[in-house]
Amino acid sequence: MTRRVLRAAGVALPVAVLVVLALMAAWPGLFTSQSPLTNDLAAALRPPSLDHPFGTDNLGRDVYARTVHGARTSLLVGIGATAIGATGGVLLGALGALGPRWLDAALLRVLDVLLAFPNLLFALVVIAFFGKGTVNVLVSIGIAAIPGFARVARAEIMVVRGAGYVTSAVAIGSPPRRYILRRILPNSLTTVVVLAALGIGTSIIAASGLSFLGLGPEPPAPEWGLMLAAARDLLAHAWWTGFFPGLVLTVTVVSVTLVGRRLKARFDRRTA
């Protein structure tokens, strides 16, 4: 009985967290009436209280309001970057798996080289190319995620390509565009979707990491990584300015990861 309750909570809780975060991103006004940007130097560096549940920062801004307003950037960047990575990866993977053999061989070589790099370093090099900024952070993390998705998509498409229903579609004279779009892609993308769910969490961490390094949005934007960077200099006086945004960031990523894992487990069971 208790185990069953725990199990159910293990899914319901992260889903609930993600719903709340989505609401925060869409309507931050639902959660706080305070502005994330208004300075109030008289109320600077107040510890958490009823008025300011997460305390205030060095300019007297409400840390809770800033954290709530920060959800939008993080979620959008996480989802956007993953979308770029998954789309690019599927295109490249399909090109390799369904295209001419020389192209596949060349692609594999390139992927080997790219996969040799840690994602963050890859993203940093892309940032060096595009320059700083929120959109550039999104794009660079997305590009850095492409090789991983491409490798998985290629392998999946290879498997599906050999399946009986594809062979029969080819045999009855179905044109390539038709059987690729109707048969191969829908049946090979489940793994990519599961991987993408997990990838959103990684992208959110990577994006706030780049912001933390000063490569993302400019202050005073309410962004979690940026808030943590500012908090680093205030640690001697105010632990709360960094603790809470980071906690919310961690809870977000844990929730995404748990939901992604559950999806993966379900999918693995189905294929096994």
Partner: protein
């Protein structure tokens, strides 16, 4: 036999060179496609920039020649181990990297040690068990994997350093200053390691020898510690190698949090300033680390598991 080994080694070295050359070439051309002039980076703080000075700098760094010619020189120098000169710092890239290598290696080694210890203890305690302890371990692992290292670092600093004053808040090069960064890196790594270890240990537990060991009267804990861990070490080594490959990337954040010198900080500086030779050099270093790890792991696998050395 020896001929076959030699061929295998040569093939490995060949593909390693291809990876390195590919990485260097890709970064070289992408970075030179960046809009803007490299001489602006080189001149940097210079106040009176005349056309003459620009021309001279371009000539000094070989930037006045066509890109293909620059590339050939770059590859030629690379083959002789010359990585060129940093635009920003005006020093040989190889020297800059060598100077910053030690602090990052220290951090990586200490971080890995922490991670290995945490992961081993957790895996030994929870292998083959179900119940609260196991659930707790799983939650701990997911949180450790998900929590961003820069936040973990900030929390550790806030409480252990500023509140309790146990450790210095900024790196002074001493051993005490290494504790928190190493702990931060260890926490970031151990979750994954522990998951892999336990899963592999549980796979090994289903093999007959595990039952045999139990019938000899060994406790469950002893079987895990003495027998199963060894079987689990191969996948753990793979993950470990992958982690080491990511150390330069991970070090960027941890070095930033703790104000430590090192390759991570050098990387950030290079990226922010579009210091092309330095970026190329650091990317090459990362590729080299990856290539070396693959080779070292191959040897270590055989040492750990003699079955891999024999062909059936």
């Amino acid at each position: 036999m020896t001929a076959r080994v030699l061929v295998a080694v040569l093939r490995r070295a060949g593909s390693a060179l291809v990876v390195l050359w590919g990485a260097a070439t890709a970064v070289f051309f992408t970075m030179h496609a960046v809009p803007g002039d490299p001489e602006d980076v080189i001149l940097g703080q210079e106040l009176l920039v005349t056309e003459e000075l620009r021309a001279q700098v371009r000539a000094d760094f070989g930037l006045d020649r066509p890109l293909p010619a620059q590339y050939l020189t770059f590859v030629g120098n690379l083959a002789r181990g010359d990585l060129g000169r940093s635009y920003l710092l005006q020093q040989p890239v190889a020297d800059l990297i060598r100077d910053q290598l030690a602090p990052t290696l220290q951090l990586a080694a200490a971080g890995l040690l922490v991670a290995a210890l945490l992961a081993t203890v957790l895996a030994v305690l929870t292998t083959g068990r179900s119940g609260i302890a196991r659930q707790l371990a799983v939650v701990l692992e997911v949180v450790a994997i998900s929590a961003p290292a820069y936040w973990v670092g900030i929390v550790l600093l806030a409480f252990l350093s500023f509140r309790l004053g146990w450790f210095p808040a900024f790196s002074d090069g001493g051993l005490r200053a290494l504790v928190l960064p190493a702990l931060t890196m260890g926490i970031a790594i151990f979750g994954l390691l522990s998951q892999v270890l336990r899963e592999a240990a549980e796979n090994a537990e289903r093999q007959p020898f595990a039952l045999t060991a139990r019938t000899r009267g060994l406790s469950r804990l002893a079987v895990t510690a003495r027998h199963l861990l060894k079987h689990a070490s191969i996948p753990a080594l793979t993950v470990g190698g992958w982690v080491v490959g990511g150390v330069v990337g991970g070090a960027v954040l941890i070095e930033a949090v703790f104000g430590r010198p090192g390759l991570g900080r050098l990387t950030l500086q290079a990226v922010v300033n579009q210091d092309i030779p330095l970026i190329v050099g650091l990317v090459l270093l990362s590729a080299l680390v990856f290539v070396l790890i693959t080779i070292v792991l191959d040897v270590v696998y055989r040492l750990v598991d003699p079955r891999l050395g024999t062909r059936s």
